[in-house]
């Protein structure tokens, strides 16, 4: 059994994999104590399948906090490699992996073995990450899940400021007062985020198949917008937020 840990800014994910099967997936809030979060995550993941630490053959870690747990494991996997390996695990045809987390987004162009040909990261820009969508949901006073659903109801093209998240937030307020529906505004928000992500991904280069991982991959409004921005189909697996942890687990 192999265990992979992905220490993210908001959540720490743990995955246990054996012989190509995912046995256990757990996510705990990272908070300010990364070590404690990892310990809790490992404990819960093992309890789920009624196993103990001695059953684990290897533990590997990835994510922004990968250096925080040397006592648990020093075997680090860089985030992009983990994402590539994890995406190929689910979709052997993956050639571009887009990872959209709470604070950061990355795109990597890979080959069939997960070797990275090029990568790009969103540069100091909040409009390409999950926390932006959450902030917009707050401005509209609806939960994020509902925000993503209602985006699909709109067929309008309501333009939002192209380049800056801060302007976009106050623009949402203006759009509300101007009488635009929440569905239209939601679509505009998702289009704006998707455009930022598409731009970043294009810097790494676009090839079929494009896979999106990370928590924001569950946002159907965003995936729909990204399909339109890249003008191609997007693949998303179940539990996309665990792909990094799974990729770390199966890394050689």
């Amino acid at each position: 059994m192999k265990l992979g840990i992905d220490i993210g800014a908001e959540n720490t994910k743990v995955a246990i994999v054996k012989n190509g099967d995912v046995l256990s997936l757990v996510s705990v809030g990272t908070g300010s104590e990364q070590y404690a979060a990892v310990e809790k995550g490992i404990k819960q993941a093992l309890e789920k399948i009624d196993k103990s630490k001695k059953d684990i053959k290897q533990i590997k870690v990835t994510g922004v906090g990968k250096k925080a747990i040397p006592d648990i494991t020093k075997e680090e996997v860089n985030e992009i490699s983990a994402a590539a390996k994890g995406a190929l695990f689910f979709f052997p045809s993956s050639r571009v992996v887009i990872d959209v987390g709470a604070e950061e987004a990355r795109a990597a162009r890979i080959d069939s073995e997960g070797k990275i040909k090029d990568f790009a990261v969103n540069e100091k820009c909040a409009a390409g990450a999950g926390s932006f969508v959450e902030a917009m949901a707050k401005a509209l006073e609806i939960p994020v899940e509902e925000l993503s659903k209602i985006a699909l109801e709109s067929k309008k093209k309501t333009p939002m400021n192209a380049q800056c998240a801060i302007f976009a937030e106050s623009e949402v307020v203006s759009l509300i007062h101007a009488g635009f529906t929440k569905a239209d505004i939601s679509k505009a928000i998702h289009d704006a985020v998707a455009d930022r992500i598409a731009g970043m991904a294009r810097r790494a280069g676009i090839e079929k198949d494009v896979v999106v991982i990370g928590g924001v991959a569950k946002n159907i409004g965003f995936i729909d917008a990204l399909k339109r921005a890249l003008n191609m189909d997007i693949l998303v697996c179940a539990n996309p937020e665990y792909v990094g942890a799974i990729g770390a687990a199966i890394s050689e």
Binding site: N78, F119, A120, K124
Partner: protein, 444 residues
């Protein structure tokens, strides 16, 4: 554990002299007026010998290297930038411009050793209009100074592989006009003998610089980019001074000696990197990080090799050092003849204006450079502080990748540290190295 041969390293012998000379140039710039000298400021790619021909006590300081020095001292740079922003200057404007205008506004001028003196007002601005904003830089600076005469030479003419006689006519007409203008504003006469002397120094400075740079093709490379940035200051501000010509000759000899003895820039050369453009001056330590932790060293840069310099290319398209003319050949003929020869030297292909004036050619030359200097990767700094050096940078990435050279891009700002995320960049560098299979050096 790597089974790599350790390379012997040594500090550069010429560095002490270079530091002292740099300090002297700054001091001369400030003090020259006390002894009746002339103080002239302008853009660094300037007709250095032409300006110097008005007297040995004319001191020119290139604004860009000065502003790079400011950027390197973050606390001082922020004072300059905030002074500008209070005046309504846009945050995203050229990082160097803000460091310069800011100095005028707060009346502070810094030396490389961080000594501060009151801002030394130039007698004249004499600048080559190099990017879209250079003429505007000195236009506003002149107003902030309460009025300084300003002359601009337009160097946006066809040059390099496209050079025509009309181009030479254009720049020489302007230069002749510029000479009359300086004479009118200073009461001094252009001295043809001094022009010959200083032009020959400039040609030789360029030749020695190219010869020194070519030595970095050796494996291991005898010098790394951070050191090249320091010596490059002299190309930018004083290539016409004999002390600079001598310094570069010594540098070339020193690097040749290092190549002969196998002395390297760093102890473990595992990856040779190409770069381009000014770096994030406030945080040059990211280069040391790459060297120390991965044995990755920047050995070539189109920016430090070519700006303010002059090169030739042989029939195979390789960069070779230019051959200065013999003094008697240069000196022959009329003043106009000499000005034509001088500007022809400065307008050759692989000259400094290439990035702005013939960007497609510059991109090709960058790829050639990567191959000639045997680079296995490239770092491209997406410089928010300079749109000029960012011209073509994404296409540069594309062409380098097409040539099989992996490229890392990272955003930063040469002039404004507030636009640079050091830890984020270090993470990107790590990810990049790991992705191309470059492992960290072991502690031994």
């Amino acid at each position: 554990m790597e089974e790599l041969q350790r390379i012997t390293v040594e500090p550069l012998k010429t560095w002490k002299k270079a530091k002292e000379l740099r300090q002297k140039i700054y001091e001369n710039y400030v003090k020259t007026k006390e002894t009746g000298g002339l103080r002239i400021a302008g853009m660094t790619i300037h007709p250095a010998a032409l300006i110097q021909a008005f007297g040995r006590d004319v001191v020119f300081l290139g604004s860009e290297p000065y502003c790079a020095g400011v950027a390197n001292w973050t606390e001082f740079a922020i004072q300059c930038q905030e002074a500008c922003e209070k005046r309504g200057v846009a945050r995203d404007l050229c990082g160097y411009m803000k460091n310069y205008w800011g100095g005028i506004l707060i009346d502070k001028f810094m030396f490389p050793n961080h000594k501060i003196v009151p801002w030394p007002k130039p007698d004249l601005f004499f600048n080559d209009h190099f990017c879209c904003s250079h003429g505007k830089w000195y236009q506003y600076a002149a107003e902030l100074e309460g009025g300084v005469p300003h002359f601009g030479i337009d160097i946006s003419y066809r040059q390099g592989r496209n050079l025509t006689e009309d181009s030479i006519d254009y720049v020489v007409t302007q230069a002749t006009d510029g000479i009359e203008w300086i004479e009118k504003h200073t009461g001094r006469k252009f001295d043809d003998e001094l022009f010959i002397e200083y032009a020959m120094n400039e040609f030789n400075t360029n030749a020695f610089w190219a010869q020194a740079y070519l030595l970095n093709q050796a494996v291991p490379a005898p010098m790394e980019e951070k050191s090249f940035y320091s010596y490059f200051f002299f190309n930018m501000t004083s290539p016409q001074l004999k002390e600079v010509t001598d310094l570069f000759r010594e540098l070339r000899d020193e690097l040749q000696d290092r190549v002969n003895r196998g002395i390297g820039a760093i102890g473990m050369e595992k990856l040779r990197i190409l770069t381009d453009g000014p770096p994030t001056w406030a945080m040059l330590n990211i280069l040391r990080f790459a060297e120390r932790e991965y044995g990755a060293v920047i050995v070539a840069s189109f920016y430090t090799s070519h700006w303010g310099a002059s090169w030739d290319m042989d029939e195979s398209g390789n960069f070779v050092a230019p051959k200065p003319p013999k003094k008697e050949d240069f000196a022959s003929g009329s003043r106009e003849d000499r000005l034509r020869k001088y500007f022809r030297w400065k307008s050759r292909r692989s000259s400094s204006a290439a990035p702005f004036i013939d960007n497609p050619d510059k991109l090709d030359m960058t790829v050639k450079m990567a191959k000639q200097w045997k680079c296995g990767a490239a770092f491209l700094h997406l410089n928010r502080g300079c749109e000029g050096v960012s011209l073509g940078i994404m296409e540069n990435k594309y062409l380098l990748q097409r040539a099989g050279i992996p490229v890392l891009t990272y955003e930063g700002n040469m002039g404004d540290a507030r636009d640079f995320d050091v830890s984020g960049t270090i993470t990107k560098i790590r990810l990049f190295f790991e992705n191309i299979g470059l492992k960290k050096l072991s502690k031994n």
